[in-house]
């Protein structure tokens, strides 16, 4: 016979164990605080945190970081920035929200829903905008001539409900079609062209070498995802997303990052070809890769990417209108002080 106390202790311990299991690794607390307005008063020359690890991809779009590091720009503001290669946007988003990393390159199609769901995140800079003909929807079937013809077809995209899918749907609707009749299939980059070839999909959304591979088969472009005349000019492709609590605690570091990487790093990468190519070498590009590289559109700005929530709202992906400017931290004006 066991005593009552023994039993209740057992009960308690079991409860605790289950709760511990359920709460495994906790989770970020939801924010109550409204985003702070700008960083006008922040001093970019007095960062609270001097060493920054940010997540992104070692690709040309991120050249601003090595450019800022290799040419003493980051040093001027007293920071050093290290790019930690990321796996994908959801992983980066999770790391930013949990505070595991302060800053990551996450596009608005991920950050807007997260923000609506209550994650405290801020957009502190633009990474990349579209360059004509770099991201396209390609087809083999000659009967598909305009976006509307994609109705009833299967389209391969990287990531469902992604920015690619949003732009394809918007283009189909603008062309008088019904985007809900397009069937989207999630495919990794490298499987786009093989699946197009095997007729598993009718169209693929591709960039860079995968676009080359598709065109080598004789495909045609149906939609330009980067610059679609009349629908969107240079599309805001990627932004630096930061953890809200971290931004509030480190306004000067944010300003320093904005001055060094977002503004001056991007400017120099755009203007100084030699510095830009050195950055690519830092990313282990081969000389051949550098020769074939198309210079990306690095904006040196942080304009609120209003087109993203508008597009998502239009497509019914989000229920409410979302003011993306409210989570966008403007660039400092005192970078030269």
């Amino acid at each position: 016979m066991k005593s009552k106390t023994q039993r209740s202790i057992g009960m308690l311990a079991a409860t605790a164990a289950i709760l511990a299991l359920a709460a495994c690794s906790g989770g970020g607390a939801a924010p109550d605080t409204a985003p702070s307005e700008g960083s006008g008063e922040a001093d970019p020359f007095a960062p609270e945190q001097k060493e920054l690890v940010v997540a992104g991809y070692p690709q040309n779009a991120f050249a601003s970081i090595p450019v800022a590091m290799q040419n003493g720009i980051a040093e001027e503001y007293g920071i050093s920035v290290e790019l930690q290669p990321a796996e994908n946007a959801p992983a980066m988003l999770a790391q930013v929200i949990s505070g595991a990393i302060p800053i990551g390159a996450v596009n608005g199609f991920f950050s807007v829903p997260a923000s609506i769901e209550g994650a405290d995140v801020r957009i502190i800079g633009e990474v990349l905008r579209g360059t004509e003909d770099t991201q396209t929807v390609e087809v083999l079937d000659e009967s598909i001539k305009t976006p509307k013809d994609l109705e009833g077809k299967r389209v391969g995209v990287v990531g469902l409900l992604s920015g690619h899918q949003a732009r394809i749907e918007t283009a189909v609707n603008a062309d008088g079609g019904d985007s809900s009749k397009v069937e989207f299939v999630n495919l990794p980059w490298a499987e786009m062209v093989p699946n197009l070839q095997n007729d598993q999909v009718d169209a693929v959304s591709v960039t860079s070498i995968f676009q080359d591979a598709a065109r080598a088969l004789g495909t045609q472009k149906v939609i330009d995802l980067a610059i679609e005349p009349g629908l969107w000019p240079e599309f805001p492709d990627a932004q630096w997303l930061a953890n809200g609590a971290w931004v509030d605690a480190n306004p000067n570091t944010v300003a320093a990052f904005q001055c060094a990487v977002v503004l001056r790093g991007a400017e120099m990468a755009n203007e100084d070809q030699e510095a830009y190519e050195d950055a690519l070498r830092f990313f282990k590009y081969t000389e051949e890769g550098i020769a074939n590289d198309i210079h990306p559109n690095l904006p040196a700005a942080n304009e609120p990417a209003t087109i993203i929530p508008e597009m998502m709202h239009e497509l019914g992906w989000i229920d409410e209108e979302f003011d993306i400017a409210a989570i966008t931290v403007p660039l400092p004006t005192n970078c030269d002080a």
């Binding site: 066991k2 023994q6 039993r7 057992g10 009960m11 311990a13 079991a14 164990a17 289950i18 299991l21 495994c24 690794s25 906790g26 989770g27 796996e87 994908n88 959801p90 992983a91 988003l93 999770a94 790391q95 929200i97 949990s98 595991a100 990794p188 980059w189 490298a190 499987e191 062209v193 093989p194």
Partner: protein
Amino acid sequence: MSTFTSPIRKTEPDGESTSAFATLAVKRSRKKSTRRRALWLGLAGVLGLIAILEIVSRLGLVDPQFLPPFSTVIMTMIGLFADPSFLMVVGSTLLTWLLGLSISALLGIPLGFLLGLSGRTYRATRTVFELVRTLPAVALIPLVIMIAGNGLEMKLIIAVYAAIWPILFNTIYGVRGTDPKATEMARSFTLGGAEIIRRIVLPSAAPFIATGIRVSSSIVLIVIITVELIAGGATGLGAFISQMRVQGDRVQEVYAGILVAGLLGLAINVLLGILERRFFSWDTTTRGGV
């Protein structure tokens, strides 16, 4: 991968004991020559399968682009084993496996003792466990990725979630199955509660716990490889297979990776089977099939 099995069911030990008895009887009646025959036949079966795979591919019955000749796959596998970076990949999966199994055991055994010793606690918590247990662990991947990122932590959470049940339930059954007479007798010798657990309950529950650990060990492997396969970026054998598939022209590496996964599974099965038999050979009824 009896994994997803429910705890030991009442029907199972019976079925098990008859089959164990039958195999025992068969084994005893077998002569040396028949055992040798089994060896040769088994070898013939393996070679036959390999030959079929090779021929089907060589004759082009299945496009070799999709099913490369078996010899190519084997050569690829040997080549992979000579590659230190591939060994790191396998090592990473094995390390995660070891961690996942250890955590499952460290959580499952004490919890199992607790629930096994207190019938009421067990009855009270059962519904929750039954509900939580039936949720396929892989469905947690999207949630856990968002909470914990896609590194080691995420793999371990999902692996432990899937693998804790056989250990937990086997421990419960083992503890509850302790002969009450033995416990009573121990009590009459004025052994304290802790002593009884250590001297009587633990030894009698140990074979069950060992079975739970063996079953869990294959679940941990399966779950880890699945998570690596699906969560993409994470390192490990699953990620390797996924990356090779994605490259399109590396089909033989995909096959080789799957073969290595099978070898790992087999090695883990055999190793833990041997350990279990070595330590608990006197209790054949607890040895699980499947």
